[in-house]
Amino acid sequence: MGLPGGWSLENLLEISDLTTEFDTSDGVVRAVGGISYTVGLGETVAIVGESGCGKSVGAMSILRLIPEPPGRIAKGQALFEGRDLLKMSNAEIRDVRGRDIAMVFQEPMTSLNPVLSVGRQLTETLLRHTDMNEQKAKERALDLLRQVGISDPARRLTQFPHHLSGGMRQRVMIAMALCCEPKLIIADEPTTALDVTIQAQILELMRDLSKRLGVAQLIITHNLGVVARYADRVNVMYAGKIVETGTAKEIYHNPSHPYTLGLLASVPRLDQPRGTALIPIEGQPPDLARLDDGCAFRPRCRFATERCGHEIPELETVTGDHKSACWHYETLVQQNGTAA
């Protein structure tokens, strides 16, 4: 975990002021509006938020996988082991991709190339980034498939993605990500498309591998439960900004942003009896093309004051690493405290 109060060399990845924009027919949409966070060595960090809040775009911006045009990384830094990913040449970033930082995507159905065999898709990463020969790469691929718990790996290598079930495919995706023993895996909604029992299998696998291999993980998800179960630290995003960041425990037990608070109150929980009241966040998420220079959550916020209308709050420390981007977090923390 990072040192309190600032960036440290232990940080594998340091994102600062990352801003990604898209040109659309409605004008420039700032999907990611200057976010900063860190991922420490071996740490599992979650980015949580609702659809359209920019969490995926933010993650893909790190590896510069945003389609350009219409996308554009407007500014910011993404220091990976001290090197700015955003300033690298195309050749350099290609070397980083798949070797140092690997990605696991949401849709295992579409993220694997349907016309290439599983083996081919696994080995090509190895052949690209290491000096293994075909034979060695194949052995390594077999080993990887075994590691991610795929039965009969030798046969699987010759199969095509459509032969595999969703869970299997996601395992293949993970095996692919592990190919070159990366230092960081970015997992973009890795289990959203899967059933709960499979979701549990996959997440358990990821946690296990991560621990065993010491790989840091950046999990992008909307599922608060998944975050609670697996993440060390959490960044909550809303409308392209990180509105709260802290350890999972802090976030869940001491939410210091009205949005986080609202999320937790509106999610139905398995451990609460039937009929427990849900308190939804009223209104709709804002249109990113029409953001003004106030707090984006203001229209849905019961704490909103006049100040929120013209000043965008920056992340401020609540306690230690726990930060919130709200002018009224103190009021909120107090109220919460009394409520709890």
């Binding site: 027919s25 939804p280 009223e282 209104g283 709709q284 229209p299």
Partner: protein
């Protein structure tokens, strides 16, 4: 929470409609080729509608004092072998072309739409039979089919339109069918069925309007194809009849006999055909990009 009076979305400003100007500027910026195509299409339609107003001579009157004259101030595109003003014939030819093109394209794609949707919606033996018929028509050499139809039906623009339309229908029906098969599975169709609506209502009101993207794309493609088909039929001597001004006819006689001695007789009708088809295709391509990037050619 009670059913309250604070409606969702009441604080939204109403979605303002952007003006046509803004839409046009946006189109030019994003689809410059498409905008150019649109401009050509508008030009063609304008010429077709206002042919009498913008022509310079009667397009059908022979003037043997002015045979095969090169372009001049009197005849800006020159004259043909009968001394007819080529510019005026092209302007009036636009009317024939638009008539043939639009009628054939609209008929072809609309009939294809209905057949395709019906076939997909009912499935089973209806689909089976329709698909077999479509198979036959697609496999049948289309120019020969058109040729046979135009010979059977005889004179004039009408038979040419029918002859051009019929080979278009199965292509559209097939594309529409596959779209409709997908749409049939979309929940709003289930919702309509759950509401207890009849087949006709579901086909016409719920499925067909949602196949507008492939339909419109087929339509613009067909427009170009129809104009070219008319030219091909003319080349085989079976297109629109003299002395009606028609581009295919003009191009054919020009290209066959006067390509060298009176190049203007072949260049201008050729440009007219190519430009029109070009325009429709550019426009159609842009529409494809806007409406449905996934829709296949043909």
């Amino acid at each position: 929470m009670a059913v309250n009076e604070t409606y969702i979305g009441i604080q939204d400003e109403p979605l303002q409609d952007r003006g046509w100007g803004a839409v046009a500027i946006d189109l030019i910026r994003r689809q410059p080729l498409g905008a150019a195509g649109g401009l050509i299409v508008i030009l063609m339609i304008f010429a077709a509608v206002f042919a009498e107003q913008i022509d310079m001579y009667d397009p059908e009157v022979n003037d043997f004092g002015a045979m095969l004259q090169a372009p001049s101030l009197d005849h800006i595109f020159g004259t043909d072998e009968f001394g007819r003003d080529i510019y005026s014939r092209i302007v009036h030819g636009a009317r024939t072309a638009m008539l043939v093109g639009f009628t054939a394209a609209i008929l072809g794609s609309t009939i294809g739409l209905l057949i395709g949707v019906t076939s997909a919606y009912f499935g089973g033996w209806v689909d089976n039979i329709v698909q077999r018929v479509v198979d036959v028509l697609i496999a049948f050499p289309s120019i020969i089919l058109a040729l046979a139809i135009v010979i059977i039906l005889g004179r004039g623009v009408g038979p040419v339109i029918v002859a051009i339309t019929i080979p278009l229908i199965p292509n559209c029906a097939r594309v529409v069918r596959s779209s409709a098969l997908a749409i049939r599975e979309i929940p709003y169709v289930d919702a309509a069925r759950a509401m207890g609506f009849g087949h006709v209502r579901i086909v016409l009101r719920h499925i067909s309007p949602n196949i507008m993207a492939p339909y419109l794309i087929m339509l613009t493609t067909f427009l170009g194809q129809a104009i070219l088909a008319e030219a091909s039929l003319s080349y085989l001597g079976l297109g629109v009849q003299e002395p009606t001004p028609a581009w295919g006819l003009m191009l054919k006689s020009g290209a066959e006999e006067y390509a060298e001695s009176a190049p203007w007789a072949v260049i201008f009708p050729g440009i007219a055909i190519s430009l029109a088809v070009f325009g429709f295709n550019l426009f159609g391509d842009a529409m494809r990009d806007v409406l449905d990037p996934k829709l296949r050619d043909r």
